[in-house]
């Protein structure tokens, strides 16, 4: 598969002028508007607290959350690193296993008929219930967190990837036969590139849900990570720090989402 990505990458050269002309406007629309929306929400939050005089241990003011972000930045960063590593590990593992499974399913119908329902069944298990089981099985280290983040990213990628690999143009596949292409070649030239837009749709979902998975896993049996910090500060009524931890989590998830989107922009140019 890395071969497939390389092929797609080296082949893609869109007229530079065309892509550059739109880049500025796209950036404004993609970045400026969301920033305005978020700023408006923060303002609304501040106004509501003042009007209804909400006590700070229930909902902190935006200013106090900002202060917590600055004052506790060392602590927040320390706890972010495990969460980032677990999310990335889970994202990579979940997607790789899902891609491998999808490739196996597309080439072996029996395997698909046997294992696809199992994958669906596993999906229906509540992740909050699986988390303690994984901790029991895998201990207190990174392993159970990565496993849960992987599990949560696995299913959307599997479903999308099977669909993507099967979305290959039947006439392009017939052409591969006429050209006496091997199965590997048909995969490399047609199936794999056809699946990339589907894969990226799934990975965009996975980029944020992997952080959620890591966070849920940190609720139990650990003393580091943003998930741990969130639970701790909830019990202690340190709502400003709690909110700051939530902002950090959200920022990490957004950063992942952004990275995947950039990667998609570079690799899947023909869909633009």
């Amino acid at each position: 598969m890395p071969g497939g990505v390389d092929t797609a990458q080296s082949e893609l050269t869109i007229p530079a002028a065309a892509s550059r002309a739109g880049a500025g406007t796209v950036l404004v629309r993609r970045l400026l508007f969301p920033v305005i929306a978020i700023a408006a929400l923060v303002l609304l939050w501040d106004v509501v607290i003042r009007i209804f005089s909400v006590p700070p241990y229930v909902v902190p003011t935006p200013a106090s959350v900002g202060q917590a972000l600055v004052k506790e930045r060392a602590r927040l960063l320390d706890n972010s690193i495990p969460t980032i590593l677990e999310s990335l590990g889970g994202f990579a593992l979940g997607n790789l296993v899902a891609i491998a499974a999808a490739i196996a399913f597309v080439h072996n119908r029996t395997l698909e008929r046997v294992l696809y329902p199992v994958a669906v069944a596993v999906r229906t298990l509540p992740i909050v219930a699986i988390a303690p089981i994984f901790v029991l099985m895998l201990g207190n280290g990174y392993a159970p967190k990565i496993a849960i983040a992987a599990l949560i990213t696995f299913f959307p990628t599997l479903v999308n990837m099977v669909e993507g690999l099967e979305s290959a143009d039947p006439q392009a596949m017939e052409l591969m036969h006429v050209l006496s292409a091997s199965r590997t070649e048909a995969f490399r030239y047609v199936r794999w590139p056809s699946s990339l837009p589907y894969l990226f749709s799934a990975m965009r979902i996975a980029s944020t849900s992997s952080v959620l998975g890591a966070l849920v896993a940190e609720w139990i049996g650990t003393n580091k990570g943003l998930g741990y910090l969130i639970v701790l500060t909830t019990y202690d009524f340190r709502t400003a720090l709690l909110y700051a931890a939530m902002v950090m989590t959200s920022a990490i998830a957004l950063a992942f989402f952004f990275l995947v989107s950039i990667l998609e922009w570079v690799l899947v140019r023909w869909e633009r």
Binding site: T13, Q171, A172, V178, L179, S180, E185, Y189, V268, W270
Partner: protein
């Protein structure tokens, strides 16, 4: 003789019982000829092309392509195939789509390609569109890329399955003219499946009329119009006579 089809029957399994697509079909195509296959929908014309291209195997009967089994011709890249839809790879520009057959199986490394991909794009009238992606091209232009792709390994036989069926009439007339030009330039044997009587008469030197399923040849019409064909020929009484004859044959077939 480039293509010899003898007594070929083709039965497809289906949920409602087996479907006989072809029944005891025989036909010959000579080297360098442009023949058209015409018949009602579902009469097995496309199936016949797929038999010749070794995409499917006959239930009974024999197909010979250039003196051997179709599989040999397929592996030797003696067959070019143009589908109803262009089937281009969206992530490759026009030039990279044309050179795809050279890359598959490393054919281009082991053989001297008779034409450069860029030359072929020029031949199909797409000079200057080398770097354009399929989504940036019109349907007619995409089909031309597909034709250039089919020709890049210099196959002696070109199989075309309603290649212009999805195009509007003006584009189609233009593409017919282009195809005749390409045919004259490459001297390729062409088997052309179509639903259009006028297209069949205009392009082909012989037209095979198919019966409804199970398809077989019920009439073979030689088109003795002067060549090279020019659009004005469509207004001649001879042209009208041929189209009328084909229309009658098709009406009897139904």
């Amino acid at each position: 003789m480039d293509i010899v089809v003898r007594d070929v029957s083709m039965v497809f399994p289906a949920s409602a019982g087996p479907v006989r697509a072809l029944g005891n079909l025989s036909l010959d195509v000579q080297s360098g000829e442009l023949v058209a296959l015409i018949g009602p929908s579902g009469c097995g014309k496309s199936t016949l092309l797929r038999l010749i291209a070794d995409v499917v195997q006959p239930t009974s009967g024999t197909v010979e392509v250039r003196g051997g089994p179709p599989a040999r011709a397929r592996v030797a890249r003696e067959l070019g195939f143009v589908f109803q839809h262009p089937g281009l790879l969206l992530w490759r520009d026009a030039l990279a789509n044309v050179s795809l057959p050279l890359e598959v199986g490393g054919w281009g490394r082991r053989h001297q390609a008779p034409h450069q991909p860029a030359e072929l794009l020029e031949l199909v009238g797409l000079k200057g569109f080398e770097r354009a992606f399929p989504r940036q091209l019109s349907g007619g232009m995409q089909q031309r890329v597909a034709i250039a792709r089919a020709l890049v390994t210099g196959p002696p036989i070109l199989l075309m399955d309603e290649p212009f069926g999805a195009l509007d009439e003006i584009t189609r007339d233009h593409m017919n003219q282009e195809l005749l030009r390409i045919w004259a330039a490459t001297r390729t044997t062409i088997v052309f499946v179509t639903h259009s009587i006028a297209e069949a008469v205009y392009l082909a030197s012989r037209v095979f009329v198919f019966s409804p399923r199970p398809g077989r040849v019920i009439e073979e019409v030689a088109i003795d119009l002067p060549s090279p064909r020019v659009p004005a020929v469509k207004d001649t009484p001879e042209f009208v006579r041929h189209t009328a004859a084909l229309r009658r044959a098709l009406a009897q077939a139904a």
